[in-house]
Amino acid sequence: MRTSHAIALSLFDLLDLDVALAGDLLEERERGCSAIWYWRQVLVALWIGIWGAVRDHKVLALRAVATGFAMEYLVGVLWANLSHLLPSRPMLSMSQWIMHLSLALLTQTATGWVVARTHRARQVPMVLVFLIFFSIWNVWGSWDWVRMVLVDSIDQPRFRPYFAQYLITLFMMIVGILLGCMLARRREDRHENISRDRSLSF
């Protein structure tokens, strides 16, 4: 229970939610509420935290989405110019695929980092908003292909690796964006600690 509470606390901390709320939930959990009840409450609180930040800062949220897609455009241009150096679809060898994945992770980490650094006041909610839009855009853009491979994968096992490749690549891109956000946040925290130490030493 301590581990799950620690995870919930760090999530609350990421979204700058009231720590008293975390205490209330733990108090109820200690009184016998189930783990399902606890996690449902945590998820609702997180959702309200994200949605509240977006509702209160609509312009900032729009800017975060625009910044993220501008980065994606830059990455796209770079990719288009360098793609002849890289192997292409339909099916890549394992080493080629790992290279593709590493590049996707790297570029998406950069995107997440830029979005977080340019929206310091509400880093996590803004990156999450961009992430939602990015995921929808990504799936929407390749929907015909995804649907075809998904349908074919049901009765023809040879198509399953294609679908798995797509899902893993999408997952790695999402991880990359979140990683970029975490890196930007760590940098912020370090700067805050240094400034606090300096102010204390004077």
Binding site: A20, G23, L25, E27, V44
Partner: protein
Amino acid sequence: MPKPNYLGEFELVVMLTVIRLGDGAYGVPVSREIEQQTGRDVAFGTVYATLERLQKKGFVSSHLGEATPERGGRAKRYFRVTATGLRTVRETKQSLTRLWQGLRELQGGTA
């Protein structure tokens, strides 16, 4: 003319609950009282978001209380209705009462 203060339906429920609980109004009892009185299953996150909104409007104030071991060392946040909040609740009640009066469909308690 001063801008009138409005309370949404759930905001009014939370305000009345905080008034009812007095000095002991923090997240857990507020949520429990709402569940008990209205029969609604409320999420703590929703109650906190509403209280935060009410605090921004100046209808409630809050202070941190004691931290206990069963709360993992986290302090309780106690809420109290401000004078502006009390006035707003009264005004909301008056508005609702005026709307209620003379509605034949709602008389007799069968509708």
